[in-house]
Symmetry: C2
């Protein structure tokens, strides 16, 4: 309750303005305040143990401290002869040093003899170095003759040795909680025997598309109808942000129906609807919140696209009502829901990287509320160039399909000419 | 067979040099030739149909042409009144234009009346525009009084209309085969009713770790043993490249055992072993290939780390034997296996993006064969800076964990000082 009371108070005191439209008051907040309110309301998910092979891209739920040295024993990095390095340092093909082979140490085996002057043990890659040996000469620099081995190049033997603990030492903090598990982390967890590490449970996100014009994606299209694309679009955004999608289907413009779908998803951790979020006869999400006892935090965010956003809370969970327009819904998700999911999923960093870019084609509109534009950026000879991807077509989904960046246009900006320096949010591999 | 004969001939004619080491001849090739040979040997996977909600990050296996206009009908982008735009263009609060409401068109519904002079139809967001209407005035710019509506701001009505087919037209090629399905593509496929699109089947990659010193990750460590970390590390690399991992466990240094595991995985599309790939008593992969009738293509690639790589082919499938050293195995995978998997997975682009960077800390080693160094890059005020991540620790897995880039060092380079311009391969979000 504390978080929720805090959030409500915060909205009340920090609201930018109240608008009266279509007969009711809208609580409109700045984007940064909306983000702060939402991030303060959610907590990181509980942990679960997951088989290591399923952990790619999961978020580590524990800080892993090594309970061993690695390598666990001083070992040979190559096939050759373990010996006393100083004894052979000057060996050449003309003046070889001849040693007696006293042991044979396979990988996975253990030495049975101690090296002394004039002796060497044949050793395989990864096998433990025998006592007293201070180096290894690789097989290619030897000539073997029965139990006798001639060292024909004896330089650098002391480098061919991997010391116990040189990579990881007992008690070392190796990977910290909140790290995303990439291939290097995965290998490291395997080294340390973490076959079922703790990871944060993925937040379950219920997605509901509202609107009487909407039919499921595999339905034939009757006149006046369109397919539910928002749920699929958002489901990809949820997955990318580390969440797990629960597709609840679509509801017509009916309070009971929407409320029923929301309550059917009550085991979820976050609830996202599309449609019914702006002002009009059929904009029902506010009514649904009232009916379900969900406290409204705000219902408008000053950004474009994506201004209509209802945020509500009940029992510590967050409910978000996005626009039914895909352009607006995708951008609201990107700016408001993604950081929230990143926090819930246990990530350390909730924001995408930002860089400076130079406009390679103009942006011809004036900007009132802060604006985000789907864009493509690329590294040119000296500058990072960027251009709005609307050039690719009018349609929002078309623009977003090819985008690798967003251009951030500050509020109250004039049209922007080629060469203007702009702030760029990187969406993925740049 | 054609591809395989081609590849063998190619190796024979383009080999850089044959080395004689430890009693057998090694076929050593330049990295670029090795890449070309491998890429020419593999084909893109067959297609399969997959439920759209499972398609995030899958590769589209069909070029999607729209069988409809989108929007499928001319519709309203907002709640308001559909009318003849010219009739109300000059309306102001002082000089409103008063119209008769003749219809009510909900979203998902259809108009029942044609607009004529002096009339308007109440219309909801997403509902079809009635015949003869040329624009929409939003609800906020009207005053409603029974069946009569006063338009108090009549400007721009003609802009509030989304024309049939303005986003996508019937017969338009919307998404091309080989596109990675991100949120925009996913939404677009839903719009077009592609509830089960064709995607390329993920290549199944068998992973086998060899070495008598290796135990499974959940086994207790006996003296002289280490855990199988390579398979887990590579499994993450396989997944990232769009493949599906088949973890076949580990084998000791025994031809029969390794051969048995390889044959048990015969339904896989690509076979990757680690260990036993260099020269020595226990370097058995070459022997395993002989036993199984796998034709050896080459067994050494001039790059560092990752020089020992056996490549073989049988029945049109590729077998790769990587080093048992994680640093070498990960880099060989990155340079040789990843592009192959990207091609098999149906990707259009097989290579990671490359940019220029400026060394922020020195690289103190001489370079013989072309070298790749795990690194971190970041955008500074004017330059993209990069530094070897070995600064973070000696251990390869530690370096790789934090890396977002690779520095490419050309062959025969001296040590590199701070400020040197270097080629940088971007690994992920930069």
């Amino acid at each position: 309750m504390a978080a929720y009371v805090w959030a409500v108070r915060n909205v009340r005191t920090r609201v930018v303005h109240l608008e009266s439209k279509g007969g009711h008051n809208l609580v409109s907040v700045k984007l940064e305040i909306a983000q702060e309110i939402l991030l303060n309301l959610v907590n990181v998910m509980p942990k679960e143990r997951v088989a290591l092979q399923e952990c790619w891209r999961r978020i580590l739920g524990e800080t892993v401290t090594s309970d061993m040295d690695f390598p666990p024993f001083t070992r040979s990095p190559l096939d050759g002869y373990a010996l006393i390095a100083e004894e052979v340092a000057t060996a050449t093909p003309e003046n070889p040093v001849i040693l007696e082979q006293i042991d044979y140490i396979p990988a996975g085996g253990n030495p049975s003899k101690t090296i002394s002057a004039g002796t060497a043990s044949r050793i395989m890659t990864g096998a433990p170095i025998p006592p007293n040996a201070t180096g290894v000469i690789r097989l290619e620099d030897t000539i073997v003759n029965g139990d006798s081995v001639s060292i024909v190049d004896g330089s650098g033997a002391e480098k061919n040795i991997c010391l116990q603990g040189e990579e990881i030492f007992l008690g070392e903090e190796v990977v910290s909680q909140g790290t995303i598990i990439n291939f290097g982390v995965m290998g490291m967890l395997a080294v340390l025997g973490k076959s079922r590490p703790y990871v944060f449970r993925k937040p379950r996100v219920a997605l509901i598309a509202t609107g009487s014009e909407i039919v499921p994606v595999d339905f034939p299209l009757a006149p006046g109808k369109i397919r539910n694309s928002n749920s699929y679009m958002l489901s990809a955004q949820v997955t990318e942000a580390g969440g797990q999608t629960v597709l609840m289907g679509n509801a017509s413009d009916n309070i009971e129906e929407i409320a029923h779908l929301l309550e059917s998803a009550s085991d979820c951790d976050l609830f996202v609807t599309t449609g019914g979020a702006s002002v009009g006869d059929y904009d029902l999400i506010g009514e649904v919140y009232k009916k379900l006892g969900i406290t409204l935090l705000f219902d408008r965010v000053s950004m474009k696209p994506g201004m209509p956003v209802l945020a509500g809370t009940r029992d510590g969970k967050l409910y978000l009502g996005l626009s039914g327009n895909p352009a607006a819904a995708a951008m609201s998700f990107e700016q408001l829901v993604r950081p929230v999911l990143m926090k819930m999923a246990g990530r350390k960093v909730w924001w995408r990287p930002r860089i400076k870019g130079i406009l390679a084609s103009p942006f011809n509109k004036k900007t009132g509320a802060k604006r985000f534009v789907w864009a493509r950026c690329w590294q040119a000879e000296t500058d990072m160039l960027v251009e709005p991807s609307r050039a690719l077509g009018n349609g929002m989904l078309k623009s977003a399909m090819g985008a690798n960046a967003l251009i951030v246009i500050p509020e109250d900006s004039p049209p922007l000419v080629v060469g203007t320096e702009v702030e760029v949010i990187l969406l993925a591999d740049a």
